[in-house]
């Protein structure tokens, strides 16, 4: 049976040589590929064919990679399971009755099943790290501004980054080396990463590394996940690292802050889909506001409508100060807690996901419960930091991911630490 990892399977060849020559890459379907349909997992964009390539796609082709298809995803990246895709859910290759995580579930499943050597995902609140953890592969969410977002169909601009998914830390770092660096078409990119060699940092040397473990990230985790997490830390300690508990009270508010900010940005970003310039128009006539509202009812799924409406509500007169302004305060508080933690430790560690992969269908009825599963990943996006998820054992035969968070542009540190977990 197919895993449904791809929405569109088609091969785009890259240049003849380069660091990724001979490698196949799955590209998440919210990253623009010239001449190749890019749906964002949405019926709204079922027939949308971008007239240009995203910067990361140009870089992949230039590095010799062969793109093998557009990977399935939660609609517009809005989900933690890949079940909100208008093209049906992707199955987890480790256990096909389970979800692969999301929103980059197709990317992670393709890599875990060997349907692609490598993949690109996007991470707005954990959408690379969650599916990497659930499928037993490696995923990196880069520092905000390390990788160009030009050609990425925006969901929440201030939070999201494109990043690599791969079977090993070194492979993920090598793919990050290809896509990292400044781009004059994305004003938020920085000079960091221009001549990077993150792959060389995958040397497994953690002697003298200090690891902070925020108690807030471990409390309430599934027992089997917690056991695998501590076993991984003991293994790093045996290799010369030391760990200590740290406290980050702000992260208790991170899920609320993240969803208010992400939904608010989504409500603005997705206003462009009215079926006139692109997307499904439905061909409705009459008052144009009504025509647009009907086109958007047809084109968007429930989770997307839910987030657009909640974002509109959070930004509306009378509620802006209560929700959006407070969420920005919480975001600054989370950044401050990380800054303080990094005065004493080199990396911060947590289970990537507090739970093992959900069963298919398990989480669709209760959106709030699904949001709470992102508790350990969203603080990283709020603080603009880099983080990696690396496989760290199993619970009942299901993969567990260890998340290692670094300071701003500290990609080498998290790559080095994660490579020791593979030893």
């Amino acid at each position: 049976m197919s895993l449904n990892a791809f929405i569109t399977k088609e091969t785009l060849d890259g240049s003849d040589d380069g660091p990724l020559a001979g490698k196949t890459v799955a590209v998440k379907d919210n990253i623009s590929t010239e001449g190749l349909r890019t749906t964002c997992g949405s019926a709204m964009l079922e027939d949308y064919v971008p007239p240009y390539d995203a910067t990361v796609v140009e870089l992949l082709k230039g590095a010799g990679a062969t793109i093998v298809g557009k990977a399935n995803m939660d609609e517009f990246g809005m989900g933690t399971t890949t079940e909100t895709s208008a093209f049906g859910p992707t199955k987890n290759p480790v256990d096909e009755s389970r979800v692969p995580g999301g929103s980059s579930g197709g990317s992670a499943a393709a890599v875990a099943a060997g349907e692609a050597d490598l993949a690109l995902g996007t991470d707005t609140g954990g959408s690379i790290r969650c599916p990497a953890a659930f499928c037993g592969v490696v995923g990196i969410k880069p520092t905000y501004g390390l990788v160009s977002r030009y050609g990425l169909v925006a969901y929440a601009n201030s939070l999201e980054q494109i990043g690599p998914i791969a079977p090993t830390v070194e492979d993920a770092a090598a793919l990050l080396d290809v896509i990292a660096g400044p781009d004059d078409r994305d004003g938020t990119t920085r000079d960091a990463g221009a001549d990077s060699n993150y792959a060389a940092a995958a040397d497994g040397d953690v002697d003298g590394l200090t690891i902070g473990v925020p108690t807030e990230f471990v409390e309430g985790a599934d027992e089997g996940v917690e056991a695998a997490f501590w076993a991984a830390l003991d293994e790093l300690e045996a290799q010369g690292a030391e760990y200590r508990e740290v406290s980050m009270p702000s992260v208790e508010k991170a899920v609320a802050a993240y969803y208010v900010i992400a939904m608010s940005e989504a409500s603005s970003n997705l206003a462009r889909f009215d079926g006139v310039r692109y997307g499904k128009s439905g061909g409705y006539d009459g008052n144009w506001n009504e025509a647009f509202a009907r086109a958007r009812e047809d084109g968007f799924g429930s989770e997307v409508k839910r987030r657009i409406l909640l974002g509109t509500y959070a930004l509306s007169a009378g509620y802006h100060d209560k929700y959006y302004a407070k969420a920005q305060d919480a975001r600054a508080w989370v950044k401050q807690d990380f800054d303080e933690a990094f005065e004493d430790v080199d990396v911060v560690a947590s289970p990537t996901m507090p739970v093992p992969p959900f069963e298919l269908g398990e989480s669709l009825d209760d959106p709030l419960q699904m949001y709470l599963a992102d508790a350990n990943t969203v603080p990283v996006n709020l603080a603009n930091l880099p983080a990696i998820s690396v496989p760290a054992g199993e619970t009942d035969g299901l993969p567990v991911g260890l998340q290692l968070i670094g300071p701003k542009f500290g990609e080498e540190t998290i790559v080095r630490a994660a490579s020791a977990v593979e030893n």
Binding site: V49, P51, Y52, D184, G187, T188, S250, E252, K253, V255, A256, A257, Y259, V260, A271, D274, G275, V276, R277, Y278, G279, K280, S281, G283, Y284, D285, G286, N287, W288, N289, A291, F292, A293, R294, R296, E297, F300, S302, K305, R306, I308, L309, L310, T312, Y313, A314, S316, Y319, K322, Y323, K326, A327, D329, A330, A332, W333, Q336, P367, L368, Y371
Partner: protein, 92 residues
């Protein structure tokens, strides 16, 4: 529960602002879910005021002409076009 209760009328109002039609079942479902979700967001009331130390700088570049999409490319995904323009629904 939230101190900002959400009823069906409020969901309809927000849906209108957002230009998203909803059927009646969705309105009822969203009203119940929004009460839960907004109730959870009330936790933000306890967030202390924090000094924001954003090091924001403007990123400038020379304003130079460069190649963009051709008119044909720009129109290639539109459902309806006329004489090289996008064609939308009537204004009223």
């Amino acid at each position: 529960m939230s101190d900002t209760p959400v009823d069906a009328d409020e969901v309809r109002h927000v849906a209108e602002l957002a230009r998203v039609d909803l059927d009646e079942d969705e309105v009822e479902e969203f009203a119940a879910q929004f009460a839960d979700i907004l109730g959870y967001f009330d936790a933000l009331d306890e967030v202390p005021e924090v000094d924001r130390e954003d090091e924001l700088v403007n990123v400038m570049r020379p304003d130079e002409v460069r190649d963009g999409l051709s008119q044909e490319e720009a129109l290639s995904n539109a459902a309806e076009t006329e004489d090289g323009f996008f064609k939308g629904p009537r204004v009223s």
